[in-house]
């Protein structure tokens, strides 16, 4: 048995989880999946914005942004995507941006572990279909030692290695039924290796155990093996955090929202080549700074558009790129003379109200109601067969025009309905996606803060 001393890895003061509202039956199991225009970037922004709101501090206090995004497309440009997330969250241009490579739970945990020396927003988002449920989680980490009373401490207590890979199907052709027996054997080896170490935590205090690993890892078997180190330990609440890259971070938010009396939990994360166990210490005061967004209203994702020529790509157009950042931030220009709001800012050099020529950026509210809506059933090539459009009146009285996601039908929307604006994808080329605002149905019941129930 090897013994190793690990230092504290992260101190977390706020966090949020975003679960998409589409579902799909895959491998005999209903999983949450992205809507047709959702991906890891849009989910990262949903989670990140909520975490910043819970944190209740100015975005200028963020020193670094660390993101781990697992897109479904193999060619996704992770560097551009990380900066799209930064811009959409309104983080300063000076923020240090780190994009973690990898597509498994270890990438998400590594993102968290990269945040220990400065105030860091850590986001992990899993958009890939099939094996994992889609989700995104965002945590605000502060430098170790500056932790307030409500901070969660995450401490690594064990780590083991075993070369393997998660793309295993047990078949040399995709036509055959997958056979995971050998993969399961490899992960058993990884588990055996880590439980053979002296876990630097008091197992008797552990009241929650999260497993963020391929489905070949059995959580109860893991606990049985761990309990070998302390046979007197009572079985904790065991939960799968089967959400890929976002798994470890969603588990931490869940641990806060389901805080047991002693506030002690373990998280086991495994990916290609390594497994890690971290200890979670959750103080009682932490809950009000965490939130979990998961709509109970679910539907199947709209089919992707395949017919007709590809859409022209806005990001090849300087005309669009001039407005790219303000579009991601939902930012208008406010006249310094009279407060008139202009949009897009680059097209209104002179105020039409007072003729002043000095403007200051002003973020628009994201909430509002439907002022008028319609379903367009005759769209240019490259768009879905139908799209619902909304002219919304935002809470400041400003009107904003945007479509709704392809899953929305005409009968879902009526004048006066509450809606919110969220970032969604429009079109993509060469791994870069053009994003813009869409109206989303407002679902206040989906937001659960503090002691309200949440589950992984």
């Amino acid at each position: 048995m090897t013994t190793r001393q690990y230092s504290p890895t992260a101190t977390i003061t706020a966090g949020a989880v975003y679960i998409p509202s589409c579902t799909q039956l895959t491998r005999k199991r209903q999983r949450r999946v992205c809507a047709a225009d959702e991906d890891a970037v849009t989910m990262a922004v949903e989670a990140g914005a909520r975490a910043l709101k819970c944190w209740n501090s100015n975005t200028s206090a963020v020193d670094a942004l660390v993101v781990a995004l697992h897109q479904s497309g193999a060619d996704a440009d992770s560097a551009v995507n990380a900066h799209v997330v930064r811009e959409a969250l309104g983080l300063p241009n000076t923020v240090r941006v780190v994009s973690m490579a990898g597509a498994d739970a270890l990438s998400g945990l590594a993102a968290l572990q990269a945040a220990h020396d400065s105030t860091t927003l850590v986001i992990a988002a899993e958009a890939a279909g099939g094996r994992y449920s889609a989700a995104a989680a965002a945590l605000i980490c502060v430098p170790t030692g500056s932790d307030p009373d409500h901070a969660i401490r995450v401490r690594e207590v064990a780590r083991a290695s075993e070369l393997t890979h998660e793309r295993w199907t047990g078949s040399d052709t995709s036509a055959k039924e997958p056979d995971f027996r050998f993969l399961k054997h490899r992960y058993h080896g990884l588990t055996a290796q880590i439980v053979s170490q002296d876990i630097g935590a008091n197992l008797g205090d552990v009241s929650q155990l999260y497993v963020s690993a391929p489905s070949t890892v059995d959580a109860r078997e893991l606990w049985t093996a761990l309990r070998g180190q302390d046979p007197t330990s009572a079985q904790p609440r065991i939960a799968d955090a089967d959400r890929g890259v976002s798994g470890p971070l969603t588990a931490i938010v869940d641990a806060v929202l389901h805080r047991p009396s002693n506030g002690c939990g373990l998280l086991y994360a495994a990916g290609s080549g390594q497994s890690v166990i971290v200890e979670l210490s959750v103080p009682a005061a932490a809950q009000r700074h965490f939130t979990w967004y998961e709509s109970a209203v679910v539907r199947a994702p709209a089919p992707s558009v395949s017919e007709g020529p590809q859409l022209s790509f806005p990001l090849e157009s300087p005309f669009f790129v001039r407005n790219w950042a303000s579009l991601l931030r939902l930012e208008a220009a406010s006249c310094e003379g009279c407060g008139y709001l202009a949009l897009p800012p680059s097209q209104r050099p002179i105020c039409p109200n007072c003729h002043a020529r000095r403007w200051i950026p002003q973020e628009l509210p994201r909430e509002g109601h439907v002022y008028a809506s319609m379903e367009n059933r005759f769209l240019p090539n490259g768009f879905p067969k139908t799209m619902v459009f909304v002219l919304g009146e935002l809470t400041n009285g400003f009107k904003y025009w945007a479509p709704m996601p392809a899953e929305t039908r005409r009968e879902d929307v009526a004048i006066g309905d509450p809606v919110r604006l969220g970032l969604r994808a429009f079109t993509q080329r060469d791994g870069i996606t053009a994003y813009g605002m869409k109206y989303l149905s407002s679902d206040p019941g989906a937001e659960r803060v503090g002691s309200a129930a949440a589950s992984t």
Binding site: S317, P380, G382, F383, L391, K399, P403, I415
Partner: protein
């Protein structure tokens, strides 16, 4: 006779509107020009025309060279003439006419011709005007099309005033009936309200039959200084007034949503210049690109009071023989909408009606005033109104 009256219309003509694959843009322009020349009562030599305006919107998007005034000058066999191409959204034709009026009234020109021509059917419907929905404008695009931009106001009108889908369909039924009396119209059958309501939905609240077609076509009009009119005809039609106005460009900046401020402003300017009130009109050719838009035009142009357009169409007030005939030509809905030619063709209809030469669709005249109106452009931001009058 009140009004500006510095310019007279002495000839007008148009081509058939429709899907005219056998005719080029230049041939359409030439045919309209020749028809206008032939309509001049006392005849006119082409050389007598010193200035030409070419109303055309989409020419450069059809794969040809970017059209200019030279395109028109050569099409009508007059290279060397001072010719200008005008593109100004849906009011392109009417604004080209307005520019010609200004040139003639200034004394720079004695006799001018305005030729509008458009080829929209060279490409499939999805690949022509709808292309603008693919181009990535941060506010206007993302699949939004002309229908979505016009639908907003109609939906709000229905919400606030109780205007119904049946009342919208009555507009289409009326204009198709009028077009059935117009041999140049693209659509010349009769349709019923039920057929409109049963036709496929394009974009709420517009069914296919609530929408105008995309059209090929040409129209031309000849105008001169008022004091020269009797050289060409004994029954010239006078330009009593006109107005051009713009609107806040984007939806979020509009101040009203049951009408278009630019139409109201352009209408007020034209009425003031002509020295008349809406009640003085015998007929109006208005921009009915969609059925509900015609209803809103009634109110924007003062043809009925705010919120009552639905009742006006139900009562038959805007049919030929009604209180004020609207779109006796069949309008954009049924005569067709080759954008650059549309306004010129509307003026051509007024010229014909005010000279009482419209045959089966002739509107009974009382005061001898007719109004022409366009509204459109990106995000419905520009409108033109013209008032013509009998001498």
């Amino acid at each position: 006779m009140t009004g500006w009256n510095k310019v007279a219309v002495v000839g007008a003509g148009m081509t058939e509107f429709g899907e005219l694959f056998e005719l080029s843009l230049e041939q359409l322009a030439a045919e309209a020009f020749v028809n206008a020349l032939d309509s001049v009562d006392k005849g006119i030599a082409p050389e007598r025309i010193d200035t030409a305006y070419f109303a055309n919107v989409m020419g450069s998007l059809q794969g040809n060279e970017i059209p200019s005034g030279a395109t028109l000058a050569n099409a009508i066999g007059m290279p060397g003439i001072a010719a200008t191409r005008i593109e100004n959204g849906c009011p392109t034709g009417s604004d080209a006419f307005r520019q010609a009026c200004l040139a003639v009234a200034s004394g720079v020109s004695e006799v001018a011709v305005v030729v509008g021509a458009e080829k929209l059917r060279e490409r499939s419907t999805k690949n022509s005007l709808l292309e603008s929905g693919r181009m990535g404008h941060p506010v206007l695009s993302y699949g939004g099309t002309a229908t979505t931009l016009f639908a907003i106001q109609v939906i709000r009108h229905m919400h606030e005033y109780g205007t119904t889908a049946e009342q919208l369909a009555l507009v289409a039924e009326k204009n198709w009936a009028n077009a059935s009396l117009n041999p140049k119209a693209q659509r010349n059958q009769l349709i019923t309200v039920d057929e409109v309501l049963a036709s496929p939905m394009v974009c709420d609240p517009f069914h296919v039959l609530d929408c105008c077609p995309q059209s090929d076509g040409g129209a031309a009009i000849i105008l001169c200084r008022a004091e020269l009119a009797d050289e060409f005809t004994d029954t010239p039609i006078m330009v009593a007034g006109f107005g051009l106005a713009t609107d806040p460009l984007y939806l979020h900046e509009k101040k009203i949503f049951t009408g278009w401020e630019c139409s109201r402003l352009a209408g007020r300017r034209a009425y003031e210049m002509a020295g008349i009130a809406p009640a003085d009109l015998d007929l109006a050719e208005v921009h009915d690109c969609f059925s509900g838009v015609e209803l809103i035009n009634y109110e924007d142009l003062g043809l009925c009071s705010e919120g009552t357009a639905g009742k006006a169409i139900e009562a038959g007030e805007t049919r030929i023989g009604g209180r004020i005939a609207v779109n006796p030509s069949g309008g954009l809905l049924a005569k067709g909408h080759p954008i650059g030619a549309t306004g010129v063709a509307q003026l051509s209809e007024l010229y014909t009606q005010l000279r009482e030469e419209a045959g089966a669709r002739q509107v009974p005249l009382r005061r001898g005033y007719g109004l022409q109106h366009n509204v459109g452009g990106y995000s419905v931001g520009i409108s033109a109104v013209t008032v013509l009058a009998r001498q």
